[in-house]
């Protein structure tokens, strides 16, 4: 008899769909079928039990090959590396649970390093804009039940968030939106005629990198300066701008979903900043919300966990010991890498080797590179030490935050292969080992000598204050 699990959360994009149905083999060890998930989510579930898994940590040999070692040795290697590093950096967390993100914060606070997450190459500028200009937002439930105008700006949900339109934004029949997509107006702003643009009522094919100018034009219309707008702004005719402005103004409940089109191009946080200002202006005459199309199923998680722990969502510099410090451009992963300020890189729950510009990878690879990841990613391929862990959301339960910052409890579907650990367990055990190593350093330093008699601190101040 086959086993069926319902209400399972999908570990792919920020939609964090929690209605997936999984069919397991009789012994509960193999995933046979996946229902309700998108093509990418389905592939993640099927891939989990359909390929050879690496179940032991592997360390790089002098000849370049990998050698299997025990978890204890691997944990000791990482703890020692953190102890000896001047400025370790731990980056990733898009595909981990909030529990692991909390454990990582404990570890890097102890080790005095930099803690960063995938928002650093994704929606980091959006977070900066939220600091500067506020964040008038709502939940995806409100979108489904109330929204009658949907504006996708620089986002391509058909490809990057495949169920966003069908589950939340356009097609579902909600409480006040009984006719589903028939009564919703969809606007897509994108320089390409994407597949998402193909589903829209209006597609504004904007010139690349001109988002700020176009949003400004909409604001001018709202403020009554439409006669001052030139005939063409950012490749969009004035007539279209006036027409769309009318749609925006007359929305009963509009939602702007924005993606990498704003944060990866020139302007970055300023693009998001002015989009928020447009929402504020629209809220004088209508009701509008704005939401970032978060990429990973729990990339909003580290932003939340570290915000309540330290006050900052990403680019956390914990090297000062007594207080956290955040300054994108200075404490962000790519900038730290390019300036060669990092002497230990720990990649967790992401693939920096495939998704960073190659110059940044080159710089990071000069030093010890440790990867904590279930899969044989490129970051695992080039690592000095690869620690495999259970797959969050499939083999490991935990809390995840959806793109609208709603927390969801994910339940595991299958067990990890025997003897494996979760991210959280690995990180906590590294912290425990690091505490032991720091304690023995402290004891060594406390052996009476002349410096002590003179009242000079025996150990580095930061290490001392943490203990």
């Amino acid at each position: 008899m086959v086993l069926v699990r319902e209400g399972i959360g999908c570990p792919y994009c920020g939609c964090s769909c929690d209605d997936v149905r999984i069919t397991l083999s009789d012994d509960g060890k193999k995933i046979l079928d996946v229902e309700n998930a998108c093509a990418i989510g389905t592939e993640i579930f099927l891939h989990a039990t359909n390929h050879h898994r690496i179940t032991h940590p592997r360390i790089r040999q002098p000849d370049g090959s990998f050698n299997e070692i025990s978890y204890e040795k691997a944990i000791d290697f990482v703890a020692t590396a953190i102890l000896n590093a001047k400025k370790p950096l731990m980056y990733g967390f898009g595909s981990t649970t909030c529990e692991a993100q909390g454990a990582a914060a404990r570890l890097m606070e102890l080790g005095g390093g930099v803690l960063d997450n995938c928002a650093s190459i994704c929606h980091g500028p959006s977070l900066m804009a939220f600091f500067d200009n506020g964040h008038p937002t709502c939940t995806l439930g409100e979108v489904k039940n109330r929204a009658d105008v949907i504006l996708y700006w620089g986002a391509n949900p058909v490809h990057a968030h495949p169920r966003h339109m069908s589950r939340y934004a356009i097609y579902p029949i909600g409480f006040f939106t009984g006719n589903g997509h028939l009564r919703r107006t969809v606007i897509v702003v994108d320089p390409r005629k994407t597949d998402s643009a193909g589903t829209a009522d209006y597609h504004l094919q904007i010139e690349p990198g001109m988002d700020y100018e176009l949003i400004n034009a909409f604001r001018m219309v709202l403020y009554g300066f439409e006669s001052d707008i030139p005939e063409m702004v950012a490749g969009i005719p004035k007539q279209s701008i006036l027409e769309i402005s009318k749609v925006l103004r007359e929305a009963k409940f509009g939602v702007c979903f924005f993606g990498m089109g704003l944060t990866h191009t020139d302007g970055r946080n300023h693009n998001v900043d002015i989009a928020i200002s447009l929402m504020r202006d629209l809220n004088a005459v209508s009701k509008w919300s704005i939401m970032a199309m978060r990429g990973h199923f729990n990339i909003a998680g580290p932003n939340m966990v570290w915000s309540w722990s330290y006050g900052f969502p990403y680019c956390l510099d914990l090297t000062k010991g007594e207080h956290a410090h955040m300054n994108p451009g200075e404490t962000s992963t790519i900038d730290l890498a390019i300036r060669d300020e990092i002497d230990l890189f720990i990649n967790i729950g992401t693939d920096a080797a495939a998704h960073f510009p190659i110059d940044a990878v080159r710089h990071l690879k000069k030093h010890t590179w440790i990867t904590i990841d279930p899969n044989m990613s490129m970051a695992a391929e080039i690592a000095d030490l690869h620690i495999p862990v259970g797959i969050s959301g499939i083999e490991v339960s935990g809390i995840v935050y959806r793109m609208d910052n709603v927390p969801i409890q994910y339940r595991k579907v299958i067990d990890m292969p025997d003897g494996m650990l979760s991210d959280e367990e690995v990180l906590n055990r590294i912290s425990e080992r690091l505490e032991e190593l720091m304690e023995s350093e402290r004891v060594k330093a406390e052996v009476p000598d002349i410096s002590l008699q003179k009242g000079i601190s025996p150990a580095p101040g930061f290490t001392q204050s943490l203990i």
Binding site: A39, I121, R192, K193, Q205, S332, I358, E381
Partner: protein, 134 residues
Amino acid sequence: MIPDNHFIMITQRSIEEGIAMEKGKQSKEYFDACSVIEMNELDMLMLGIEENTPVLVKSECGQVVVTAIVGLQILKPGMCHIRQGVWANQIVPCRTQSTGVPQYSGFPVTIEPARDRNVLNVYELLYSSLGVTR
């Protein structure tokens, strides 16, 4: 007349890349999905680039050989798209405008036919870029 081979590059996600990535970055599907550049048909004609032939793409910080195809999602002339991944990141500039985010989209590149060049597989590309042997 020398054809203008300057373009604006966008590197973003596609569903083909997403599915292939979950199959594994060493898979043939990932190679097929990510080692291609999507272009406007007119631009390809102007530059004498035939579909499914290698082209050399250069940016301010690097270069990569990828296979040219007509854009599945329509691009205006002057624009091109490589799906995010190992090939795209060979040419993505690291400048972050003090936000931490590199210039993944909207940076200038040049494209030229490179029939005599091979598109490297993911391992060859990564290891040659890092200057190490596997």
